[in-house]
């Protein structure tokens, strides 16, 4: 049972979400990152376990006609900025150096905890990156680049050096042009990677919003968000479903993935292993012997109790609601007090005209 309980090998989840481009016309990259942030938070990973890096502030940009919002669907259906977003690295703090320091844990001692990746060797880490990229590099802030070799080496540091940042399994998703080139050089074990396009292909953006005037999302992340909106913490969807997100007919580019470094079969890897933070609790009615010298009386008492099937935590406790922005359509009823008042009025008028002795005509 213990083996089944700890089947996936991880006990906590972390997420590092990075948007690397600035300027108003790169609105969609910020929206990409924020939509993944939203899904990851909804599925249970707390802010303390998410490192969110946004290279520019779109919500408060002077050109935003809807200040304090970042929309992912046109006609402003879904505001991914929300009112509880916590950005850890903002603006010019998002640099290649800071990103690599977060991954490898080589941060100065004064860095606050919210800016650190404090994972251990039983953590599953989700890393999502988006921005402008090319064959073998990703552009940060319009002035520097990170290469796929640097990234692979950073992951290897995470695997080998077992004192700062470690991981049990790592999922790397990248949504840029020629994204597949970024995961070509990985060589550390337990890394699975997904990209929105192959080398030589461009990742395309999805829809423009005519009131805001920019493209709101990239196609791959748009369909990824749609897929994730259907995932709830008890979902059994696995990685093979994730690989099918955004086929070429919808995405125009060919998404790619890499699983050769990963030890488990993707079929057995749940989406919630990386995107959610499911804490497994098993309720058992058996007693567990902690102290060997327990009396026989206590043993008999416990055996009499009914043996029920171990119940999973998720089925008993209500699931966090998936928040839809559109309110449900209800039929309109007149308010209850109104009906009561109306009937009272009718009865009063009736008795006024006909007198109270006619009451017995009714009954």
């Amino acid at each position: 049972q213990a083996n089944q309980f700890f089947g996936s090998g991880h006990t906590n989840n972390w997420a590092v979400l990075v948007c690397t481009s600035r300027f108003w016309f790169n609105y969609r990259h910020v929206a990409n990152t924020l939509s993944v942030y939203r899904s990851v938070k909804r599925l249970g990973i707390p802010d303390s376990h998410i490192v969110l890096m946004l290279a520019d502030d779109m919500a408060c940009n002077h050109r935003n006609p809807k200040p304090a919002t970042v929309f992912s669907h046109k006609n402003m259906e879904l505001n991914v900025y929300g009112d509880d977003v916590e950005v850890d690295y903002r603006g010019y703090e998002v640099t290649v150096e800071n990103f690599l320091r977060v991954l490898t844990g080589r941060l100065p001692p004064s860095t606050p905890r919210s800016k650190r990746l404090l994972s251990d060797d039983r953590s599953n880490i989700l890393i999502y990156m988006t921005g402008h990229g090319g064959n073998g590099f990703l552009k940060f802030q319009d002035s520097e680049e990170i290469s796929n070799v640097e990234l692979a080496d950073a992951f290897e540091q995470m695997w080998q050096k077992r004192r700062q940042v470690q991981y049990s399994e790592l999922l790397f998703i990248i949504d840029t042009c020629q994204g597949a080139s970024m995961y070509e050089r990985f060589y550390s074990p337990n890394v699975m990677a997904l990209a929105s396009s192959q080398v030589g292909e461009d990742s395309l953006s999805h829809q423009p919003d005519l009131a805001i005037g920019v493209h709101l999302m990239d196609r791959y992340t748009f369909y990824l968000l749609e897929f994730l909106e259907d995932i709830h913490p008890a979902s059994q969807a696995n990685m093979n479903d994730l690989f099918k997100v955004c086929p070429k007919s919808l995405c125009v580019s060919t998404p790619g993935h890499r699983t050769d470094l990963f030890q488990r079969d993707p079929r057995n890897v749940l989406i919630t292993d990386f995107f959610g933070s499911v804490r497994k609790v098993e309720i058992t009615t058996e007693t567990v012997k902690l102290i060997p010298n327990i009396t026989e009386k206590d043993e008999k008492l416990t055996e009499e109790l009914m043996l029920t099937e171990p119940q999973k935590y998720v089925e008993q406790i209500p699931v966090a609601e998936i928040i839809h922005q559109k309110p449900k359509q209800k039929d309109w009823h007149p308010p209850d007090g109104f009906i009561l008042g109306l009937w009272t009025l009718i009865i009063l008028v009736f008795f006024k005209t006909y007198g109270i002795k006619h009451l017995k005509h009714i009954f």
Partner: protein, 580 residues
């Protein structure tokens, strides 16, 4: 000529990343408001007999802008007969729309001139309607300045000089009260009718400077989006690039642009902004006899779209070309293609100069060995070379300074107006220079020698090459026109006794004045408004006076260039023809 040929023309494209594609839905619907502002403005203008400053200030203030006025005065060197002004006094009114959340470091300008009569009333009306619409939006990242300038170019020059705190043309103006940061782009609007059939864009600026090609591309992109018919040089687009009529059409459009750019005159109020590295174009609404008309709302949407795109700019326009020629709105010829054309012409000069140098050094050696032909040949002293040069340049200086300085004297002696006096003095000095060779010969020693004219020609050819090279770099069209006319003839002239008349006539044909005359004639042919010789002469006289005025008012460099450099250079060649 071959430049208009299709393979050399590139399709225009948007280079600036921040501009992206035209994705915003324009929501301007206040065409009626624009018309009502127009009527009010026209009425007020008639009432005050000039610019209705108070009404404009009141209206802009009520729309929520920060309004400032600037008064300026300028005295022209001589009265301008075209626009009928001599001592100009005026007021500019401008309102600043502050960006609601932005820092006040950058701005965009929308300007409409206040002209006499019934011109450009709709432009001011539309400007006011747009101001009130823009005021209610929150997505502005830059301040917007709405400028109504009086006395068109002079007013714009006064405003720009006061805004940037420089004094280049001797204008006197009141201090500038309100500023909005560095101006990134400017749009000048000229609309004289309630409905238009097409929108023309004027791009040539002062001294042939052009705005960044991205701004023209922006205009075209929004014309396509709103469906407004757009023209350049007043001509519509044609789609048949491969056929002969298509070729001639694009050729004529390009020639028009070359002529306009060569003249160095700003073709609209925008032309003066370019000097301050502010990209600007003028949009002119044209109402012709076409069936399909566009109303003010559509024009407003066009401008709103352009401004929202300009709002997205992060830096000044710098990604696209600054030097180009446009055979049509969708095609352009970049500097990389047209410079080699000039290069070949300059090569002719250099080769001829080399040839002369070789001849000179050849003839030096046998003279040293053999019997002296006379001391005259052995040393064509620097004096021989320098004297004609200095005399020619003195004539040039006279041509530059005398017309304006001596106008009082001229009016006293002759029954002409000041303008005519100036122009006629200029022509007189020009023609008098033609008589120079006959007179200076008697003074000089060493005149009439073979070596003398060769060395003078060598010097003149190199001088012309350098001059035209520098001119072409700044104003390609001017340099090219001068090169195409002057270089072939000047390369081949020689002082032969027999063909003196022929050479003389050829040289006169390519003199700057004749070039100007022919250019005017060609220009009128191209805009399909042909003129007779007499009318051409009238235009010529006007062009000379306008050239001098432009130089004094806005710092145009055409007149000084021709008077101080091209004309003396040409005179040197004239000296060579009459060397013996």
């Amino acid at each position: 000529m071959g430049l208009a040929f299709e393979p050399f023309m590139l399709r225009t494209y948007m280079s600036e990343n921040a501009m992206g594609s035209t994705m915003v839905e324009e929501k301007f619907v206040f065409g009626e408001r624009a018309i009502s502002y127009t009527r009010e403005f026209a009425g007020q203008k008639k009432k005050t007999g000039g610019m209705p400053v108070d009404w404009l200030v009141k209206t802009m203030k009520s729309r929520g802008l920060e309004v400032y006025t600037q008064s300026f005065s300028q005295t022209l060197p001589f009265p301008d007969e075209v626009k009928e002004r001599y001592m100009v006094r005026g007021t500019n009114v401008y309102g600043i729309l502050r960006a609601p959340r932005g820092p006040r470091t950058e701005s965009i300008v929308l300007s409409a001139p206040c002209s006499e009569g019934n011109n450009n009333n709709q432009a001011v009306g539309l400007l006011l309607a747009l101001a009130s619409y823009f005021r209610s939006q929150i997505y502005w990242a830059k301040d917007i300045i709405f400028l109504v300038n009086e006395h068109d170019l002079i007013g714009t020059e006064a405003w720009l000089e006061a805004y940037h705190d420089v004094n280049m043309t001797g204008l006197r103006s009141s201090p500038m009260q309100g500023r909005a940061g560095a101006i990134q782009a400017a749009l000048s609007l000229e609309l004289s009718s309630d409905v238009i059939t097409s929108m023309d864009v004027a791009i040539e600026g002062l001294n042939g400077q052009l705005p960044n090609l991205d701004l023209v591309n922006l205009f075209y992109a929004f014309c396509q989006k709103t469906g407004v018919l757009c023209t350049i040089q007043g001509k519509l687009q044609r789609n048949d690039w491969n056929t002969l009529p298509g070729y001639t059409h694009s050729l004529s459009t390009m020639l028009l642009m070359v002529l306009k750019q060569g003249s160095g005159r700003p073709q609209g109020d925008h032309g003066l902004f370019l000097r301050y590295h502010i990209e600007a174009v003028t949009m002119r609404g044209i109402n012709s006899f076409r069936q399909y008309k566009f109303d003010m709302t559509t024009v407003g949407k066009l401008i709103e779209g352009m401004f929202r795109k300009l709002n997205n700019l992060l830096e000044r326009f710098h990604q696209s070309y600054f030097f180009y020629l446009m055979p049509s709105l969708t095609r352009f010829v970049s500097i990389g293609y047209y410079m080699p054309a000039f290069g070949f012409l300059a090569l002719i000069l250099v080769l001829r100069a080399l040839d002369l140098w070789v001849q000179l050094s050849d003839s030096a050696r046998p003279l040293e060995d053999g019997a002296s032909e006379g001391e005259q040949d052995s040393s064509p002293s620097l004096l021989t070379l320098a004297t004609p040069v200095i005399i020619c340049h003195l004539t040039g200086l006279a041509l530059y300074y005398l017309p304006v300085l001596s106008q009082e004297m001229a009016i006293q002696h002759f029954p002409v107006s000041e303008t005519e006096a100036v122009v006629l003095t200029a022509i007189a000095i020009y023609v008098a220079g033609l008589a120079l060779p006959h007179n200076t010969h008697r003074v000089l020693s060493g005149a009439g020698t073979e070596r003398g004219w060769r060395s003078l020609k060598l010097f003149s050819l190199l001088y012309l090459a350098v001059l035209l090279g520098c001119t072409t770099l700044i104003n390609f069209s001017l340099g090219f026109i001068l090169a195409v006319t002057m270089i072939p003839v000047t390369a081949f002239i020689q002082p032969h006794r027999s063909s003196k008349v022929l050479h003389g006539v050829a040289l006169i044909l390519v003199s700057p004045a004749t070039t100007l005359l022919l250019s005017i004639y060609l220009y009128h042919e191209l805009i399909e408004y042909p003129v007779t010789l007499l009318e051409c002469w009238q235009h010529f006289l006007t062009a000379v006076s306008q050239g001098i005025l432009d130089h004094h008012l806005y710092g145009s460099l055409l007149y000084p260039l021709i008077a101080l450099f091209i004309y003396p250079c040409w005179l040197q060649f004239w000296n060579i023809v009459f060397w013996k």
